[in-house]
Symmetry: D3
């Protein structure tokens, strides 16, 4: 079962964070404490993200909504990339951020839109189709 | 077109907030400034929520993720009820909140779970099927 | 000079917080540490609020804007009362909060409006003239 | 009336944000969604800022107090510039930030002072007259 | 090893949270998802709190400082009780909160002091010796 | 007594902030208002930090826990350096931050770990002994 958890963790991590730009949190955890880094990773990616209770695109929109609200731009960038990796469109991501702006106010919304623009530029998807 | 906006606003408000418990924000706005209350409502419910760019269940999970991150328990309660109204299941709502806990930490996650429990009790859906 | 600071502190405290409902922070500080309570009070009310660099009504609107943004409803209630004590009108207070809503999002704005409603009820000023 | 709103929006935007340095939020909104950008702008600048319920210098001090509390340095920079544009003095802006420090703590106060220093340097107003 | 983790988790939970008033987070997690509740508990109490890298009194002061900064009053109450359980004195707890006030501002400091007062009353330790 | 306060303030400031990299807050306060800067410094460093109610290493861990929770990276950097100056080890600082991650979520924890890595590099203490 523990082997199964490790396998699911690796698969989900590959699905989400393949080719992302930016420092993947695992690396900074590992540089301070390799054992704890492994536990964090198995817990978050394995025990949470891999549960088949929400489809991956929904999980990523949930992550984007929450990270935009928190102003956590580094992790927001990682999850915007993960969202594109699992098939969420740039337009849907912008729409999530515009909606979140109602709850967080304009400055947090702007910061998230700027982060999305950076991610789309990185992926060669800028300017977005605005139709 | 303005008539169309008003119609969509009313329809979306009815869909989301029918029979909710708690003070709907429109009422407090209206008690201070009826004109501005109308503009807020047309802007948020009409110009944002009614756009057909995200399905309503996704919009509500986005709201829940963001409001849980902000610790905004009154609005969280309203949107948990709205989420149930558009077909999101109690289990999916708990899963959104558990995932958001990774980004917000345990205290904000606990507060959101307590709010969800109150909403489920109110709706006669407590205890949840935990299978 | 220290006597002068004490005098200004007492005068400004009387001007702002006369007859307010709610626990004045000085009392909780004093119950833990009377000496530090005195220093906090001289510093905040004396060295900051008593400086003649901003008119008192402006100071109170600054306090309201900042406390509404922080969601600090207890202190917000005290400073809404202080604002009324120095001549800010209920309409101006509502307007400050509506504007702050742009930066903080709707939930923080709603919480501040609810706090203002409570203060106005307490003062016999509810419902407000909405003309 | 809608024409009137557009006119007031344009006038207020010109008054506040003439010659500001930094990305005006309208541009990032527009790059994602031109129609929604127009609605945001009419709502915020037209329906909120243009209401003649608070004098423009007070509005800008309210913005500064709230944005300093939120740590929203990009928008804080824009509104510090807008405040100078409508006649608020550098000393008054520093005083607003020092007062806000009581409610937000020292780190948020420092961040806001550093932002003010950058704005004053940009405008050739640094070092401030500290008399 | 997993048995060892379970044993340490149970011991540390007993040490910290024996006889606390308030809802222990495990119960709300468990009501939604017993399996995930167990993993959360093993991760937080077992893998973090039980590591012998910080003495228990230090761990609890770290928890108090962080939870006071976040305004998380429910968890703050639990950890103030846990701090008393492992030998931190009421005076030291007040001092931690006064210091945190420098970083968080007065409203968050006041909220934490009020929470500490409630805990001390609950434990029959109020009023504190202020010598 | 006032002389005594000045002396203690100077001694504690020297102990904590000797040779730190980054802008010490006193300088930015002083550039806006020399008189207020002195009062802030006497209040924070003199009246709070110099009280002999908590050992200096504990004070610095409290500061780190609170500043990590607030995401105040500039002040966090200063207090991580101060913590090393009074004998807290890199491992203990990492452990404080990992624990705080439980309450603040992963993004704030990551930001604090990145700040700690920068401080340790600055001091020639990177990579840490992870034994």
């Amino acid at each position: 079962m523990s082997e199964d958890l490790k396998k699911r963790t690796a698969e989900t991590a590959a699905l989400y964070f393949k080719d992302v730009e930016g420092e993947v949190p695992y690396r900074i955890w590992h540089s301070f404490d390799p054992e704890l880094a492994k536990e964090f990773s198995l817990f978050i990616t394995g025990s949470i993200y891999s549960r088949e209770k929400l489809p991956h695109p929904t999980r990523q929109m949930v992550a984007v909504a929450s990270l935009a609200a928190l102003g956590a731009v580094e992790e927001l960038s990682l999850h915007l990339q993960a969202a594109l990796n699992v098939g969420v469109s740039p337009k849907e991501l912008a729409e999530v951020i515009f909606q979140v702006g109602v709850y967080t106010g304009v400055p947090a919304m702007n910061r998230a839109l700027v982060t999305l623009r950076e991610v789309l530029k990185l992926k060669g998807l800028w300017p977005p189709d605005r139709g």
